[in-house]
């Protein structure tokens, strides 16, 4: 029995030690999430308590309701939804043909182009944020959704091109070539044959662009200052005052924001790792 479920030759002691070690790491990794869960369930009178219980005494959902009543959480949710959807849409539309070109065609500067795309991933956020910010002010695009989307897609496009190129590489060329023999031109074969086959990769890069924009704070804080245009991250972080923070409501709102993204992320994580390492090993 044991030899099938565990490695051969492991003693019971070794197995127990492995479980204890993993248990400690799991506790450290999960505790902060449990911590906000616990605070979000506390009644307002005991938000500041020194108890370490996960489910507090007199647990209530008041904070979740108050997050919508006392703050503009629904407005922030809507704004974030619009901005993230736009970033995902443009981030993919603008990179899909380039990903195809990098995968299928030979042209001058292909290698340089690909490594330039990697170099853009090395820029610190401030590198393009500062000039873009000044440019946006010039064109009166600060405090607009369009301005924020522009900054977001400037980082997602290079990343998406890499991911999509990697996926196009795995689609056999023979399908397109037989279409050419049948008289299709390159545009038709791309739209009718390759693009539908690449649907999973396209969905994946759209989702990652969406989640990136959904969770972005550092850029949004600079571009958006008008109170009716705040996105979730700015709204949430504004709750964090310098001296006092409404921790109960903040925690509830943070969980409302984070849990959907976390679930999607955990389901998709294995694709992301595969794509990243595959891409960089090949490059």
């Amino acid at each position: 029995m044991r030899s099938e479920r565990f490695e051969k030759g492991d003693s019971v002691l070794k197995i127990i030690l492995i479980y204890i070690t993993l248990g400690i790491f799991c506790a450290i990794s999960v505790y902060p999430v449990l911590n906000i869960l616990s605070i979000s369930l506390r009644p307002a009178s005991t938000v500041f308590s020194t108890s370490l219980k996960i489910i507090p005494d007199n647990a209530t959902f008041d904070n979740y309701i108050n997050a919508f009543l006392k703050y503009d959480l629904s407005k922030w949710l809507l704004n974030s939804l619009i901005i993230s959807s736009l970033s995902a849409f443009f981030g993919v539309i603008l990179s899909v043909t380039a990903g195809y070109a990098f995968s299928r065609f030979e042209f001058l500067g292909k290698k340089v182009g690909l490594s330039m795309l990697l170099v853009t991933q090395m820029f610190p956020a401030t590198m393009t944020l500062l000039p873009l910010y000044i440019m946006l002010i010039h064109y009166r695009l600060s405090n607009s959704f369009l301005g924020l989307v522009i900054v977001y897609i400037s980082t997602t496009i290079p990343f998406n091109i890499w991911i999509l190129k990697g996926y196009f590489d795995t689609i056999p060329k023979s399908l397109e070539e037989s279409a050419y023999v049948d008289g299709a031109n390159i545009t038709i074969s791309f739209y009718k044959i390759t693009l539908p086959l690449a649907a999973p990769a396209i969905a994946l890069s759209a989702l990652f662009s969406f989640m990136g924009a959904w969770s972005e704070y550092i850029v949004a804080r600079v571009i958006i200052t008008a109170s009716d245009k705040l996105t979730l991250p700015i709204g949430l972080t504004n709750m964090m005052g310098q001296f006092t923070t409404d921790w109960g409501i903040y925690s509830a709102a943070a969980l409302i924001t984070a849990v959907p993204v976390m679930i999607i992320f955990i389901c998709l994580s294995k694709y992301l790792v595969g794509g990243l390492t595959l891409g960089s090993v090949k490059g």
């Binding site: 479920r5 565990f6 070690t21 993993l22 790491f25 990794s29 999960v30 902060p32 999430v33 911590n35 500041f48 370490l52 603008l94 043909t97 380039a98 070109a101 299928r104 065609f105 030979e106 042209f107 001058l108 853009t120 090395m122 820029f123 610190p124 956020a125 401030t126 590198m127 393009t128 500062l130 000039p131 910010y133 000044i134 897609i153 496009i157 290079p158 390159i186 550092i218 600079v222 991250p233 949430l236 972080t237 964090m240 310098q242 923070t245 903040y250 925690s251 943070a254 984070a258 993204v261 976390m262 992320f265 955990i266 994580s269 294995k270 790792v273 595969g274 990243l276 390492t277 090993v281």
Partner: protein
Amino acid sequence: MELKTLQNKKQNRTGHSRNMAQTRWTPFFFLLPSLIVLCFIVLYPLFYEFWISFRNVTLLNLKSGKYPYIGFQNYIQILTDPLFYKTLLRTLVWTAINVFFHITFGLFLAILLNRKLPGKSIIRVLLILPWAIPQYIGAITWRGMFNIEYGAINILLTKFFGPNAAIPWLSDPKWSFIAAIITNIWLGIPFMMMTCLGGLQSIPQEFYEAADTDGASGWQKFKNITLPLLKPVITPAAVLGTVWTFNMISVIYVITYGAETEEAQILVSLVYKKAFSYFRYGYSAALSVIIFLILMSFSSIFIKSQKLED
């Protein structure tokens, strides 16, 4: 014509066959949409940044669009200020400590998870949580846990080591820096763990079986099989990790939010603060350019050393 011969040369060298339906301009049309957009929102801003770094841009003249040329003054101001060197040193310490712990813990956990172990898929999901949670929420949560009176960490410390063990995490810049490092290590382990796990799973089991028949010890197997075969996976991940950690603003920003000194900042968070809290845009642009040069030299040294090894 010249373009074509160059292409042919390249094909001969790399041995790729040309796409059947490709004409001279096809790649160009396919690249055009992203090329135009990237020129406007990446390339042009970069040149613009170099341009501003030689000018005096502050909140006062930001909207006017007239920025007086001041030569290298921004650069001189930065390079003669001890703050720059202190922050640079702190950034290097920050990057080294973070990347070291990301890789060691990540690899360690990946090796444990690569064994036959009932319940390991649940353990993997639990271990991946810090990566799944939006970064700023993770950071704010840790900030709450570092609270001097009600934070979970000080409560634990005082429970175990008595009432004097509480640490002023957020008010003392030295401790804030350590708090930021702890937070960022927590955030970064899952990425390395998953990357290493992917690499470990691609190592054929036969190697280990052969080593077993030769009577190799666990450590020998790790040193002679696992590490060398994992290197092509770990190296790019480590380079990416180094650059990401070097550029990590949000953790430092959230943990040191409201602090009056710059003694817990790293270079990028200093740029961010100088630009968007003190409105010194020209100065920040120059500092950005310096950071860019540091990162570029790091990555080109890395690429060169890679080529030498091949």
